[in-house]
Amino acid sequence: MSQTNRFQEQSPASPEIVLRFPDLHPAFDKQAAVPEANRCLYCFDAPCMQACPTHIDVPKFIKKIASGNLMGSAKTILDANILGASCSRACPVQVLCEGACVMHRYNKQPIQIGRLQRYAMDALHASGAPLPFAPGEDSGASVALIGGGPASLSCAAELRRRGIRADIYDARPLPGGLNTYGIAEYKLTFEASLREIDMLAQLGVNFHFNTTIDAEKLEELEASHDAVFLGMGLGAIHRLGVAGEQMQGMTNALDFIAGYKSGSITAAPARVAVVGAGNTAIDAANAAVRLGATEVHMIYRRGPEQMSAFDFEYEHAKQEGVKFLFHVAPIGISGSEKVEGLELQKLEASADGSLVPLQGSNVRLPTDMIILAIGQSTHTDFLAAVEDRAEKVKLERGRIVIDRASGQTSNPKYFAGGDCTNGGREVVDAVADGKRAGVGIATWLEGENANA
């Protein structure tokens, strides 16, 4: 078992974290799953399937749950989405499959597609059965994949099913990228992400951990592989740009989330301020509450109407007890060695819509920790043109430009997908990108061989 569970076994699985982050959407049991599956109308060319970036044939897998064919159901899911287990937990289903469900126009409650998908995937995992796919016959070709997140994992699975070797290079000690380190634990646990990658690894994917790829290393990989897939996601979270950002008590949402998920953070101080109002900011704020903070504030320059978090995430944060300070901007950090407070200035909208500071409105929010969640920078410097080096692939505002259908970049040997191409969307978008790129690479390699 050690070989098949090699990643899962490395999960910290802290009992404290398990206790503090129970499932937001608990698993269905059979008595709940089967009647829910029977409620599905079995739409033709179903809107849920269309809405899913990976186009999982939702009615097909749901009917298999109803008939008791759980292995077939899981295979239907995996056929379209190799990370079907993570996506069933992490997807914002309200704006995807479940948002598109025709039941909104029928008896109003959409089919709980996410929970049904998890039910089928859990059944497969619990059965101990291997992944229902075998690697293809070795084609002799090999691809280097930069980054071990959902885009690369999905791309690698497509390649392996076609007999193409897949070498994944990741800077972290464990695979999965944000799927493992970045999703709120009450949605997708660290362990569940690793368990799924253990399954995927059965296809014969080669992982190279603790490996950062710079321009030089990239040249090596390009020379030693037939194609390169870029799936390294985004870079660090932006800084505020005010004095004191080095103080103890300053962190960012990604480090904070990765810290508690991987076991290095087990508690939050009493007062926490989160700057930003996107989905990641909310995940960090909710985590702070669950880790013991008694007063968690979110700081946002605009109002609730402009928040980039999904509405249901905003509602969830309010239920967790997070307080929101709208129309304020941080202008300074108080404290000596340790953060003691955040200096805020009120903003108001001017005639042209831009925000202008309201003079004399400064307030100080006492806090023990400041978590920044104001967007990530890109991580494509190693691809960009420098003095003696041409641009490796075409970039636009730091993002890699691709052909959406094939994932191919301006450099035919390079393909890309996920956050480094779209600026940061969902796991399922990265999986879909990786899948298309996997097919795209295989098709391109065939063409190259035909021309050779």
């Binding site: 479940e98 402009q306 928040m307 298309r436």
Partner: protein, 484 residues
Amino acid sequence: MPTLETTFAGIRCINPFWLASAPPTNCGEQIMRAFDAGWGGAVWKTIGEQVTNVSSRYSSIDWAGQRMMGFNNIELISDRPTETNLREIAEVKRRYPKHVVIASLMVESKRETWHDIVQRAEDAGADGLELNFGCPHGMSERGMGSAVGQVPEYCQQITSWVKEKARTPVIVKLTPNISDIRMPARAAKRAGADAVSAINTINSITGIDLNTLEPRPKVDGKSSHGGYCGPAVKPIALNMVQQVNSDFVDGNPLPMSGIGGIGTWQDAAEFILLGAGTVQVCTAAMHYGYRIVEDMNDGLLEWMRQKGYETIEDFRGLSLPNMREWKSLNLNYRVVAEIHADKCIGCQLCYTACWDGAHQCIHLDRADGGSQAVVTGIDPRYSHHDPNPHGKPTPAMRFAESVKTISTTPIPKLDLDGAGNDSSLTPLHRIPRVDADECVGCNLCSLVCPVEDCITMERVENGLPPQTWEERVAAGAGPIVVGH
């Protein structure tokens, strides 16, 4: 105010709802509780020579999450001593004189034995007798039950023995396990029976345990064919009830107590509209208890009030004239499906059903000019086009297109047109369109549509006078050709 009081074969009934001879009428204690709950009568669990039952006895078919769509039993007749049953009949009649108690009887096929049991049941105070010629399992292997009901001569012989002795009305219970149920019904009539009841249960194997390969219900690893009943059998029962009640070969049909899948007042009304004077219920009472009769009484009365019927007799048999042989149906009547776009939720079940299960005349082209298609009014039954004459995309082509589209998760506030964003309106391209010139009016789309009144079948004139197949053949005409 309408009343449910009625008279059946001379028996006064406070309402037409009787419990059928079955486990719910096993003993007096049960029947008295049933009468308290509102049942008008009960046919006692069949009395005869004492039997030993097997364990287990019942099995069922679930459908789409609903339990007991169909129910099956291999239980025999009463396993209690006859004296006990008769003593309790007397007690029930003493305490509930206005309620109907019918003794269901089954004994070996000897004249004296039948005379004896008839005498004892009537002496106990039964209001009538039901002869169980229908039980399809166990007892039939011993020459009783459906072994009698399946042979009209035996049915006639035993009924006549009973009639020699009986002072109360005699009801013959018919088995559906026969090719023409009218034959035993005629035999019963010839023998002087006062009424019939139909149907008894249908021979069945409800299913097999896919782990152990044992059929159900399991008796020590084995099973035996049982009697099928419950909601699943109602259409079969209605057909047989109609057949018997429309049979005038030996004069007017006998009064009929309708049985088979009845669980609601609507079911009961349908049996009565096809001529039944009372109805008998078993499976629904076994599923939900005696309390279901409250709505049966209440609902039927309310429906009668709305329709203006004062008594059961006011509407009994009114649907019989509407059942004809196929050859007497109007060939020139035409309906066409109409999809009401304002109600459509976009599931496209009608589309796939029409393509795979009907006549390929529903298309997904409202957003591609289909809405402008001109209806010429030709009747496809007479124009006989090749399938899909306008070369519309097949479901497989539609599906292949759809999976090629690239969808992304909408970013809040930015992607207002995200696929999942506005679910309150059905997008035009998801609303199917009926090609009225190709629609044969089969009903399938309206049957699969989950939304009430979303697909209606609308009558259209084709300019042809009414004509049945019988009339067409008599006129010496071949198939009519209309249009081109």
